[in-house]
Symmetry: C2
Subunit: 335 residues, 2 copies
């Protein structure tokens, strides 16, 4: 790995889908009747998005997108961040751009004129807080590789990428270009596997990236670990994957999370919450807390604990962007 | 008053601004520095809306509009409702239309093509839950009188109107036409005064409507009562206004509410809440509960209690549309 040329200005630069979440409570029977996989993410076209929206209950809109949520958490904790993602020149695009900038995150990707509109994710939230997502990618899938400012990527300590964005072709090329820029500058690349179905489609790509050392910090939940490694046994999956990355972080919902790094291992229990309202963004905010700790040079155990604190905040309300003062919360819980 | 020609099909038909609320927490110092009157509603133009949105924190969007919120509450309680209001043919217009229809409310006003866009209300929410609103009326101010279906208005037991909509000229004409249709069919007209500044601009109109018997049920808060009557003394204000309407309902925030009808009087205390998160919609949902009780032929005391229960639900979360199951809540609290 080449040495960093100079100290980076940004803590984290992220590339991800630029999405507005549209959320409504739903009964599990409705989710099943609509043919959705409870807890999963499906890509939907215009027609299906229209059908699902028509049967959805009264909803609320909050900016989302996996990497964008993580950056919102990082910025709220005090990190200096930038985001790259594609919105359309429309009202939902303005909402997304407003919310990310209002969170203190630099966001300069120009809005894309014309069709398709800004991406949205129709989220059916079950009574137990489980979220089932239907993503209409819209403009987000047209993030062009030339939207990347390679100098800026080289100027961030960590490049953060979401697996979801591997589906569409143009952003995939953009992410490969970003990885090259980050690695060329001696920066760290953090990657989240995002979803089991994404791994079904792109697992070979992900494994190749991991084998070649393109990924320093890998985030997965236990289902994604199994899907990527082909190991149904949790420990066997960890044993296969951990040696290939500098840090492997695996979340296990209410059973907490584990991190492995160069032979060391740390655990955290899930942070208790009064009531799980909406699990959307739990993984994204866990990543935010972990990466913030990491950017501050903290121990694996500290990073995990901060991840758990941030995840607990996000699942206690609707929406995947933090509502509480995360900085104060972190100080209270971690001192 | 002429007799009703036949039993109405609808419980309530409402005419109001078709608005999407854009809400973010704010410090009182910021609200003051921006020149807003804490707790009030100001109309803003495109330029001012842009400036305010630029300095607003990360926000969330929930459909709003005073009368529309009231109908959402009424429908959630089990009333059969219809709404008339003007959205533009844009994404926020789709959001508004979706949310009101998904709440089970008939909404057929065609979207208006071209500029201006759908109305939005930029709401700065103080740490104590007080809301300060900046309304960009957009398409909402162009509700044409010919958008009204007079037969449908005549087919609703109650016509519900918001004072906010008195500002723009076209909807004012539409509301006058609607009142004539309702009174001609022997229906009740319910009116909410909405805001002190609206009364400053249109108090003479409101007083004239009340004097001529166009208003059967009048909703006000204590500031609005004082503004309309010119009486700073609460009891003097009640004494002046109550004889002119069949029912006068005056809300007093945390001090509860009072209703007066044909010489009778009833009170309710504010329903206790764990934490006041956002007072947006408190008056709207109070009106929903009261009107639902009234539509069921309940006593003044029952109507007030149901109003207080609905208001307590709405101020315990962000947004002015109910999140809890109001029907179950009403059954629990009123039996």
């Amino acid at each position: 790995m080449p040495q960093s040329r100079s100290a980076p200005t940004l803590d984290v630069i992220g590339i991800g889908n630029a999405i507005v979440d549209v959320m409504a409570p739903a009964a599990d029977e409705q989710i099943e009747a609509l043919g959705m996989a409870r807890g999963g993410m499906m890509l939907v076209d215009t027609q299906r998005a229209r059908e699902l929206y028509d049967v959805m209950g009264p909803a609320r809109e909050v900016s989302g997108g996996s990497a964008a949520n993580t950056l919102a958490g990082l910025a709220a904790l005090g990190a200096n961040c930038a985001f790259i993602g594609q919105v359309a020149e429309d009202q939902l695009g303005e909402v997304f751009a407003h919310d990310i900038r209002a969170g203190g995150i630099a966001f300069d990707t120009p809005a894309r004129p014309g069709e398709p509109p800004t991406a949205r994710c129709l989220i059916f939230v079950s009574p137990d807080g489980q979220r089932t997502m239907n993503t209409y990618l819209g403009a987000s899938q047209y993030l062009p590789a030339d939207a990347l400012d390679e100098a800026r990527i080289a100027d961030a300590a960590i490049l953060y990428l979401e697996g979801y964005l591997w589906d569409p072709e143009e952003p995939r090329a953009a992410m490969r270009k970003a990885i090259a820029a980050a690695k060329g500058a001696g920066r760290e690349v953090a990657f989240t596997l995002s979803d089991g179905f994404v791994i079904e489609r792109h697992g070979a790509d992900f494994n190749a990236m991991i084998e070649t050392g393109d990924v320093d910090i890998l985030f997965a939940n236990e289902n994604e670990l199994a899907a990527l490694t082909g190991e149904s046994d949790f420990e066997a999956g960890l044993a296969q994957l951990a040696p290939k990355v500098a840090i492997l972080v695996v979340t296990r919902s209410e059973r907490g999370a584990v991190a492995l790094s160069r032979g060391k291992r740390a655990y955290v229990l899930a942070e208790p919450v009064n009531a799980v309202v909406d699990t959307t963004g739990a993984g994204d905010l866990f990543a935010a807390g972990f990466l913030f700790g990491h950017s501050q040079g903290k121990s694996l155990a500290h990073c995990l604990k901060l991840g758990a604190v941030c995840a607990a905040e996000i699942i206690s309300h609707y929406g995947a962007r933090p509502e509480a003062n995360l900085k104060a919360l972190a100080a209270e819980k971690l001192g």
